[in-house]
Symmetry: C2
Subunit: 200 residues, 2 copies
């Protein structure tokens, strides 16, 4: 795909990337509320108006960051859990690594789950990607459980959903509402809840 790009497209993609990277850095470091066109452009080494030659609007640009963070999240979780034994134990590890990623980058959680996406018509595929991220990360292992007769298919579906809602519920309260108020408590609570969801 990249090979078929003409010179112009290559250069265009390059400049888009400067903006995307600038926005990502701000998001990662300071969170969504600190991201604005002048900020981004400054960091990218352009004027703010130049941004509009490459992106429809700022939401469009910020949305591009989502794909990068998604890849990074997958990468992180995979490398942190590759040596775990398959099945429930691995699912628990994946869930923990997934949570850990957002604890490290709360701005990414904000972007993925809290940002208002007023008109998300053309962005639905990306939204879908995020919605299914945890499922995608765990799917093989759920299948493994089903194959080993640990659960029926229906039970696995149920638990998959339960895991997703519990994990994001926990993150919503902790990251956005400081509940529980310390990481230590949050960590203990997560572990208890995960153990409960993933019991046979």
């Amino acid at each position: 795909m990249v090979l078929t790009m003409d010179k112009k497209t290559i250069q265009e993609e390059r400049i888009k990337r400067y903006f995307i990277n600038a926005a990502s850095e701000i998001l990662r470091g300071e969170g969504l509320k600190c991201v604005n066109v002048r900020n981004i452009a400054d960091r990218a080494g352009y004027s703010y108006a130049t941004l509009y030659n490459y992106f429809k609007d700022v939401r469009d640009l910020i949305f591009e960051c989502v794909k990068d963070f998604r890849d990074e999240c997958i990468q992180t979780v995979k490398s942190e859990t590759e040596s775990l034994p398959r099945g429930l134990e691995k699912i628990e590890g994946i869930a923990k690594a997934y949570i850990k990623y957002y604890i490290q980058y709360p701005g990414v959680f904000e972007l993925f789950f809290l940002e208002k996406t007023s008109d998300l018509a053309d962005k639905q595929p990306t939204i879908e990607m995020i919605y299914r991220l945890l499922d995608d990360l765990c799917n093989e292992e759920w299948q493994h459980c089903v194959d080993n007769k640990l659960f029926s298919n229906d039970e696995a579906e149920l638990k998959k959903g339960e895991l997703k809602f519990v994990v994001h519920g926990l993150l919503l309260f902790y990251l956005n509402r400081k509940q529980p108020s310390s990481f230590k408590e949050f960590f203990a609570l997560s572990n208890i809840q995960l153990k409960n969801v993933l019991k046979v």
Copy 2:
């Protein structure tokens, strides 16, 4: 408390209320993104600058709405579930009514759980209230289950948490990310998940 207010305080409270009610109506009808000082003041019948004689800033005003919505939510849930048999069945009913309230007023969910509250130092009690709302609504019934030896205290605590995270996880995905994409699917999914959490 009201009885001890002097004339000035009474009048001040009255005007504060005009602003709070105006903001609440907009929130309820059009959601958080449509709330702004000029809007609110128009509806309250004042100039936007007047608002600053009564509230530190617009966040302060919007936060006042929280208490009203909380009371309304409690009221609604209680009246919709008063005739249910005690115990798990009632908890399920409460959870459903609670969910229904936010489906009816997505702007309230936004305000309660999604809004960024940059400095929430003095607002922590209110945040706490919201964080514990579902728990408060169900507490008596959980206690009833424990009294009837349906669960141990620890089990009840665990399930209380699980219910909270599942319910808010479901709402987060549906209200903020349109996942699932139809109410029908959401309704079915909620019912399945609630049944699962609340099984003995």
